[in-house]
């Protein structure tokens, strides 16, 4: 009797996120550092009797977080909504712009100085100007600021992605006598997709920052930024820090979600022999 070894094909070929081998040490090490840092902070504030307006103790901040939890969540919702709308609008503008600039070289050349200018100025500095245009009471100005902050990194990354098409893929499309639209749909856009989401991940944190800082410039809003400034103004420093913690969580949330989306879309783009 002969036994033939069966070469089993990859049974489950569903894509997985390429977070390889999540080991205990990679989770535990940062946690230990975090706990130690907070403990040291608490001990320092306690033993040196640091005033709360200089640096409140972590326990005091935690008390404020638990006391004002609803208010923090509400603030995060307001700021998060602005950041989210800004992110989506900015992403659409960035991708559309990059597709145009990638297709028509003169548009790219025309846009380059404007993009460079927008990339170096802190866009949130436009907030007061936008408030005088749209009024500080409505969210329009804050959404525009967030959207502009997002559109630039997304535009730049997408444009780079559109230029990553491999020579062998280009040759294949020529060999198939594929039309320009077919080339864009079958090769150019899929090649650029991971780059779009890399841009989006970088930009998502910017959107939160922009939406948050824009609130510093005034307006009767219930956002986190406004809450931070007003608690600090009324000398309630632990509360200000509690709102800052909310802002950190909000920023992380945006980052992690866009990171997961990016990993999903680039799951097959690992370098291969081909």
């Amino acid at each position: 009797m002969t036994t033939v070894a069966q070469v089993s094909p990859a049974k489950d070929t569903r894509a997985r996120l390429p977070i390889a081998e999540l080991r205990w040490s990679t989770v535990l090490a940062p946690l230990v550092v975090g706990v130690l840092a907070i403990a040291a902070w608490e001990w320092l504030v306690d033993s040196l009797e640091i005033e709360p307006f200089v640096l409140p103790a972590p326990s005091a901040i935690w008390d404020q977080i638990t006391l004002n939890f609803d208010s923090i969540v509400k603030g995060a919702t307001v700021t998060g909504r602005n950041a989210l709308i800004g992110t989506l609008a900015g992403a659409v503008i960035g991708v559309a712009g990059a597709m145009l600039a990638g297709t028509f070289r003169f548009l790219d050349q025309m846009a380059a100085p404007v993009v460079a200018a927008l990339a170096v100025i802190p866009i949130v500095a436009l907030a007061p100007v936008l408030y005088s245009m749209y009024g500080a009471a409505v969210d329009t100005g804050r959404i525009i600021v967030a959207g502009l902050s997002v559109s630039i990194p997304v535009y730049l990354n997408t444009l780079r992605g559109l230029r990553q098409v491999k020579a062998v893929h280009r040759d294949l499309m020529t060999a198939y006598a594929a039309g320009p639209l077919q080339v864009i749909r079958s090769v150019t856009l899929p090649t650029a997709t991971p780059y779009v989401f890399t841009g989006l991940r970088v930009a998502s944190s910017l959107a939160v920052i922009a939406a948050l800082i824009a609130e510093y410039f005034g307006g009767p809003i219930g956002g986190l930024g406004k809450s931070i400034t007003s608690s600090a103004a009324s000398s309630n420093y632990p509360l200000a820090w509690a709102y800052v913690s909310g802002a950190i969580v909000l920023g992380l949330l945006f980052y992690v979600v866009t990171l997961l989306v990016e990993l999903w879309f680039s799951r097959h783009h690992r370098p291969t022999a081909g």
């Binding site: 062998v168 893929h169 899929p190 291969t272």
Partner: protein, 277 residues
């Protein structure tokens, strides 16, 4: 399958390809004449820079000759490309990483508007041919280099072309995988009856696969000789088995190609079946 037309698969006459201008001018190809008959397997071999890939790209109409004419089945190279007269495979498999194996194989069919049901059937046939039926839903990054190259060959065969252009398709594979792929290519060519223009660096590969081996040399890129492997006592390329590598004719042909490559024409001319120019 094999429509025996009167036109040869490839006919190149007085082809020159010059890159650059002035002092930076490079003569990639000089006065190349080459005919590949319908159903014939012809290899181009030579050191880097001898223009073998350039010649293949000219036939594929991925590049244009500076002067001279190239016809494919009696049509201009451009018309042949537009009519999809050839299938092509490169050293890099060039699979689209975001498409499944089946999605990659069906790509040319999809681009040319073949209906879904026909596509599905053809893809199943091709995957059967290359022995990767079980991997239809895998993505390229889940395959080995040899498997990826097989998929690329299946894709090149998708539209049953009568001419296959292959630019060092096994160049990046290890020797063991390489020989297995060569055996498979012989089988596939026998089944499809297609003519093949095959670019390679490897002398045994060229001799084992080909009816004729065209030897080229660089600066300027030109054809220095043609070894007819069949004249050395080998059966036609389509009828060979793995054992052909142990035949006397195989070694004789390898010796002739090597002599031509290393530029000792006296010896080569003496050998039977060689015509130097």
């Amino acid at each position: 399958m094999n429509h025996l037309g009167t036109d040869p698969a490839i006919e190149a006459r007085g082809v020159h390809r010059i890159f650059g201008k002035g002092r930076k001018q490079v003569d990639a190809l000089t006065d190349v004449d080459l005919t590949v008959a319908d159903g014939e397997f012809v290899s181009l071999i030579g050191p880097s820079g001898c223009g073998k890939s350039t010649l293949l790209r000219l036939v594929a109409d991925l590049d244009a000759a500076t002067s001279g004419t190239i016809t494919v089945f009696g049509k201009t190279a451009r018309q042949a490309r537009l009519d999809q007269e050839y299938g092509i495979a490169f050293q890099q498999s060039g699979l689209l990483p975001w498409r499944t194996v089946a999605g990659n194989v069906e790509l040319p069919l999809k681009l040319h508007g073949v209906p879904a049901e026909v596509r599905r059937q053809r893809v199943a046939e091709l995957l059967e041919l290359i022995g990767l039926t079980d991997f239809a839903k895998s993505h390229p990054d889940q395959l080995s280099g040899g498997m990826q190259q097989r998929v690329a060959i299946a894709r090149a065969l998708a539209e049953s072309p009568r001419l296959l252009l292959m630019d060092e398709p096994f160049g990046a594979l290890d020797e063991i995988t390489r020989e297995r792929m060569q055996n498979e290519l012989v089988r596939i060519c026998a089944e499809t009856g297609a003519a093949v223009l095959f670019v390679t660096h490897s002398i045994p590969e060229a001799v084992f696969l080909s009816d004729r081996v065209v030897v080229m040399s660089p600066r300027p890129g030109r054809i220095t000789g043609v070894v007819d492997v069949r004249a050395d006592g080998m059966v036609p390329a389509h009828d060979r088995s793995a054992g052909a590598r142990d035949e006397e004719g195989f070694f004789r042909a390898v010796g002739e190609v090597r002599a031509l490559l290393h530029g000792t024409p006296e010896q080569a001319v003496a050998a039977r079946g060689v015509d130097t120019r």
